[in-house]
Symmetry: C2
DNA sequence: TAAAAATACTCCATAGGTATTTTAT
DNA sequence: ATAAAATACCTATGGAGTATTTTTA
């Protein structure tokens, strides 16, 4: 599981549109499409309902969104904290 | 960033030994070694102090360990919850 | 000399790109 | 006809393996 894939998921969930998400993530639309199919396969269930001109989240997708959204915030905070810690150490030496 | 890489890190931190961690993770020692070098490069600072016959964590490494350990627990819980949600949906239909 | 990490390669899987097709409005 | 996702195909990067080297107690 790549963390980038989870960020792509958040973007798709936000836009309810693969093409827009691809733009936001600075990758091509087929790349997002494949990543989301691969994510669903990896998890073992549908995250999206592909409609006509719109993507909707399944119930599981909505829940996953909530969890992953928090988790990635915490992940970023962790990275930030450890960066700060490393820099503080540097200036102390 | 792959989540597997973070699990490898936890294992190395736990054992203070790349070879033991490799065994626990069911991969070869050079694979762990490269993954940890790549992790340090990606983060931009040292996580380990490679000693004689022992690996020690830097301060930043210790802090990263705490954060990542919690984070991966939450990640697993998220996956579990969403699995449960998806199954409940299935049986309801 | 033994134990442990790093390096040098080789191989394969996967991520991403472009072009194209499919599907529904 | 158009908008949007999926598919086909290609390439490059990265992960993992085996064999080997380096280092230090």
């Amino acid at each position: 599981m790549k963390i980038e894939k989870l960020y792509y998921f958040l973007s798709v969930a936000k836009h309810r549109n693969f093409t827009k998400a691809a733009q936001e993530c600075h990758i091509a639309q087929p790349a997002i499409s494949k990543q989301m199919l691969s994510l669903e396969k990896e998890l073992g269930f549908q995250l999206f309902e592909r409609k006509n001109r719109r993507v909707e989240l399944t119930e599981a997708g909505e829940q996953f969104y909530q969890s992953i959204s928090c988790l990635l915030d915490e992940y970023e905070a962790s990275i930030q904290r450890v960066h700060d810690c490393a820099e503080q150490k540097e200036t102390k030496e």
